[in-house]
Structures are given as structure tokens and as C-alpha cells.
């Protein structure tokens, strides 16, 4: 009887040990948020993750599943809206570059209009260029998307686009196989594109044109200021009022330092110099020089402008909203005595996706661009283990790599 009682006690004790989980038993749902560095949607120079590699791998696998699904949709289901002349993949940095170019152009045009007015141009030309197209809606949607602050780790922006390119190239459509991204949009500066009748002017041409307008404005007001003939003084937008006396030994009239016309030019010139200096700064989000973003934005803007109602483009925007995972660590008597901890991992990712058709008309009113699909797609793997690579040859387990020295 005593023996049986002892056996029961031991059994209870063992079961208690087995089923009494250790403090590490609970899932750490996004547990590393408290220790992970805050991440943004912008690309980081290096990963800030301290999550286990297994979680990252599972999350990348989840990303792969989402992107494959979208690529298949874009190149098959969405295709009846075509035929498309090309596919353009966009992500957050690409949209930032696009906005950088549009902002640059608006600022440059504003300065140009003022320099032209001082020069005395006739005919107003056009107003400030408006590059609004379907990507404006995409940008708005991207800006309005929910931002998670508790990322376990950051998947850098180009990753989603690169995975998308991979899956597009796996499709049967020849158009999808040649999808364009980032610096490979291939705008031809010699034959510029137009959007709604507005020429998409390269960054270099705009800077050169602005410099010429500035010089010509200065020449015009100086010429006007040196004349007393009404028509010559009227030829420029304004003319400084010269002093009565010529500069000794010359044929030039001196101007008062506080002449309103010269002051107006000087103020405008200050804005011009500030504009130029701003191009040398770094983009706070990407750390790239702003001018680099602007130049990349030009190529993207030109590429998007090539989508017409007759030959539309298919745009795919992908942006990772959140990525993270769970590590489950189970401890009990068996793990303590025999097996060690039982650890399982789960990884997941949420991706903002917009698939849209770019079909610019001759005017904004005749555009046929539209959003074909948009959603925040999510995918989480079940708790499990990361398998060994297929055809694993144990090479990574080698204790040295001295044979690599020639």
C-alpha cells in the first residue's frame, strides 16, 4: 500500500513537473517590440532587427506568399483590363522620388515665372505644371495606411519590390517578365514624354533653363536701367532708376543700392540660391541626396507618363506595413532533464498592395486610369520549425574555411 502511494506521489510529481510550464512558456507575441529599434517604412542602411533569424525567415516566406499571389493576379486576372504596354513596380522610396521630382518642378517653375516676368516676356505661357495622375491616389493611399509601431523587425523597402520582380518574371506574360523598377525605368531625355500636354522635363534641363532665365533677367533689367528711352526701359519687367551722373570715365549709370527693381531681383535670387542649396541636402527618410531622388523621380514620372489609353501600363505598389513573429519556448521536466527547451517559431507580415492601371488621356478629363485592386494583405505561418535546406551538404558546419586562402 505504501509502495502504491509512493508511486502515485511520484507520478503526480512528474506530471506536475511536466505540465508546469516554465516562465518562458507564454508566446511572446511581438514580444521583441520592446527591445527592437523603432523602424520606419523608409529603407534603413542596415537591419535593426534583434529577432531570431528563424522568425525573419518565416516572415520572408510569408512575404513571398503574398507577393506571389499578387503577381499572379496582376499578370492574369487583372490582365483583361489590358493589353498593357508594360508593368511598373512601385514602393515607398519610388513614390518619395516621384514626389521629390514633382516638388522640384513646381518650385523651379515658380522661380522661372518670376525671372521671366523680370525679363519682360510677353504671353504668360502655361501655369504651374500639374503632374497629377493615378499615382497621386496611390500616394494618398500609401500615406493614409495604418503604421504599425511595434515591428519586431524591419524588412527593407526594396525587398518587397525585388520579390515582386522575381514573381513577375515567373509569369508567362512577356510584359510581366520585363517589369520595371527603380533606376531601370529608362526615360529617354532626347524625346521627352508629355503628360496632359505638359512636357516632362529632365532635372538637368530645368536647372539649365532656370540658370539661363536668371542671367537673362539680370541682363534685361541692367540694359533697361542704362537707358532713358521709355520703350527700352519698358522692355524689361522692371528697370532700375539710374543716377543722373555717369560713372566717371565710362558710359554706365550707377544704380542706388536700395533701388526697388534691384531689391526685387536680389530677393528672388536669394530664393533661387536657397532652392539650389536644398538640392544638396539629404532626404531625411532615405539619406539619399535630394537631387538623386529628384533625378530618379524624373525617370519614374516619364515612365508613368508613357502609359496612355491606347497603351496602358500596369502599376503595382507594394509596401510592408508590419513584420514580426512569435517564439514559443516550452520548458518542463523532460526539457530540463533530457531534451532541452522546445522552441517553435511563427513569422508574419502585412503588406499594403495597390494594383492600378495607368492610362493617361490627352487631358486629365480623358484619363482612363483606375485602381484595380487594393488591400492590406496579411499572412502568418503556424508555429513550427525551420527545416534544413534541401540537399544540405553540411558545409556550413565546417570548423574552418582556411582552404579558401589561395
Amino acid at each position: 500500500m505504501m509502495t502504491e502511494l509512493k508511486r502515485v506521489h511520484v507520478t503526480i510529481a512528474v506530471l506536475t513537473l511536466i505540465f508546469t510550464s516554465s516562465p518562458a512558456n507564454a508566446q511572446k507575441s511581438k514580444a521583441s517590440a520592446s527591445t527592437a529599434a523603432p523602424a520606419s517604412a523608409a529603407p534603413a542602411a542596415t537591419s535593426t532587427s534583434n529577432a531570431p533569424l528563424e522568425i525573419e525567415m518565416l516572415s520572408y516566406g510569408a512575404l513571398d506568399k503574398i507577393i506571389e499571389k499578387i503577381a499572379t493576379y496582376a499578370c492574369n486576372t487583372a490582365y483583361p483590363g489590358g493589353p498593357y504596354n508594360g508593368v511598373v513596380v512601385l514602393d515607398a522610396p519610388a513614390l518619395q522620388a516621384l514626389q521629390a521630382y514633382d516638388g522640384f518642378s513646381v518650385n523651379a517653375k515658380a522661380l522661372a515665372v518670376n525671372f521671366a516676368a523680370m525679363q519682360g516676356t510677353s504671353g504668360g505661357g502655361s501655369g504651374i505644371d500639374d503632374f497629377a495622375d493615378i499615382t497621386s491616389a496611390v500616394s494618398a493611399a500609401a500615406t493614409a495606411s495604418t503604421s504599425e509601431t511595434s515591428f519586431s523587425f524591419t524588412i527593407q523597402d526594396p525587398t518587397a519590390a525585388l520579390v515582386m520582380l522575381h514573381h513577375l518574371q515567373s509569369q508567362t506574360s512577356s510584359v510581366c517578365k520585363t517589369a520595371a523598377y527603380a533606376g531601370v525605368y529608362g526615360a529617354d531625355e532626347a524625346t521627352p514624354q508629355t503628360l496632359h500636354g505638359v512636357t516632362i522635363t529632365s532635372t538637368s534641363d530645368q536647372l539649365k533653363g532656370l540658370a539661363m532665365l536668371r542671367i537673362n533677367a539680370l541682363k534685361a533689367i541692367m540694359t533697361a536701367g542704362q537707358s532713358t528711352a521709355p520703350a527700352t526701359r519698358n522692355a524689361a519687367g522692371c528697370a532700375p532708376v539710374p543716377s543722373q551722373a555717369l560713372v566717371a570715365g565710362t558710359t554706365f549709370y550707377p544704380f542706388p543700392a536700395q533701388d526697388p527693381c534691384l531689391t526685387a531681383f536680389s530677393n528672388l535670387d536669394t530664393s533661387y540660391n536657397t532652392f539650389l542649396q536644398s538640392l544638396s541636402g539629404a532626404n531625411a527618410a532615405t539619406n539619399q541626396p535630394i537631387l538623386s531622388s529628384v533625378m530618379q523621380g524624373y525617370h519614374l514620372r516619364a515612365a508613368l507618363a508613357s502609359g496612355t489609353t491606347a497603351k496602358p501600363l500596369l502599376g503595382i505598389y507594394v509596401n510592408i506595413a508590419a513584420a514580426g513573429g512569435t517564439q514559443q519556448d516550452r520548458k518542463n521536466l523532460i526539457t530540463a532533464v533530457i531534451t532541452g527547451d522546445w522552441i517553435r517559431y511563427s513569422g508574419g507580415v502585412s503588406v499594403n498592395v495597390i494594383v492600378f492601371k495607368i492610362a493617361n488621356g490627352a487631358t486629365a478629363q480623358t484619363d482612363q486610369s483606375l485602381i484595380l485592386y487594393s488591400d492590406l494583405l496579411r499572412y502568418r505561418t503556424p508555429l513550427g520549425h525551420v527545416k534544413s535546406p534541401a540537399r544540405y551538404d553540411n558545409a556550413p558546419e565546417a570548423g574552418d574555411n582556411l582552404n579558401s586562402v589561395p
Binding site: K109, S122, G125, S126, T201, L210, P230, A231, A235
Partner: protein, 221 residues
Amino acid sequence: MSSSPGALVSLPAKYNVDDACPGIVPRLYMNDQLNDCVIAARAHQTVRLDYNSGLTLIPDILDTEVANEYHAEAGPFDTGIVVSDSLAAWQTPGWFAGGIQRQIYDFSKPLNLNNAGALTGDATTDLTLAALQSCIIEHTGVQIDLSLPTGITFDNKTSFGPGNDWTDTTKQTLLRHVMLLTGYDQNGFIGITWGVQQHMTWAFLTKYCTGVYWVTKNIAP
């Protein structure tokens, strides 16, 4: 062709270049789309220069030729053109219009109109009413640079054209505009702008004109 703005000895009571060019139909020359009056005025004068030099075939200046010249001169910002710079470009290298490259031989610097302000006293740059009339006859019209008063715009269709003579000199200036003056009559001057014939009084012209430019045609087309 004289480079002097001096008046002819005997001026007709009224004159219009277009009276001798009945086949010329005023066109917009893309002024409505490019919002550019400088190349449009040049196109108007180009066809009249051809006609006046004995060519009976009116050059068919294409809209694309007008647009190409405008964009070449206006640069990447589409901010309009300085008329004196544009005349220099018309002289060298010229412009491709009606299928051929066309150049002018010479052009004036901006001339002052009497009453437009204090004259310089320089007979080569000051235009009296009679001198302007003479200049129109001698040079197959003249281009004028105006600072149009408020209210006169292309979008306001009742602000210009036949029946809407420009007479009011009380308003402030707003829009800088170049047009071709083709003649005059007892009521003032006649020009072509925004594709239609436009009358204006001498008072209006002297109030709002900021400069007058004549050109002389090259021997070749």
C-alpha cells in the same frame, strides 16, 4: 526699306496691309493653346511679308511649326518669350515655317510712341502718329508690345475682336501681349490678335503700348 521711323511724305487717309492680301484668313496660330502671342504675331507677319514681296501663294504655316518654334525659344518652363530676343532668333537662325527656313534681314530695337512717356529726342527711336503709320506701310505691319489693361483677355470673348474696339484708357495694366498692327483709319489703328481683326484708338495705343518693332524681310523667303 528704311530703318528710320520718319514719316512718308504723303500718307493715305487709311491703309491696311490686308487690303492687298485678300486671301489671307486670320488664324490663331496656337495662341489659344500655347498662350503665346509672340510667335503667333510672327506667323501673321510672315504670311504678309511673303504676300507683299510678290508671292501670291500664302504660306501654310503649320501649328506644329508654331509650337516647335515657341518651345525652342521659351525653354523648358514655358514662361513666354521676350519679343526682342525672339526677333533676333527670327533673324538668326530663322524659323521653319510653311515648310522652309525663313529669316528676316533686320529688325528695330523697341521704338517709343509719342505720348507713351518722355521721348528721347532721338529721331530714330521716337515715333509720332504719322511715323507709326508710315512704318506700317513701309514694313508690312509692325509688331507692338502692349501691357493690356484689366478685362482684356483671350478668355473674355467680348473684350476683343470686331465690335469690341479698344478705347478705354482708364484701367490698370495686367497682361503683356504682342500683336501685329496691319493698318490704320480715321478712328485709330487696326491689328490682328487672337485670330481676329482688332481696332484701337491712338489714345489707347499710346497709353498701353510699351514698344514698337519693325522688321525687314530677307531677299530670300
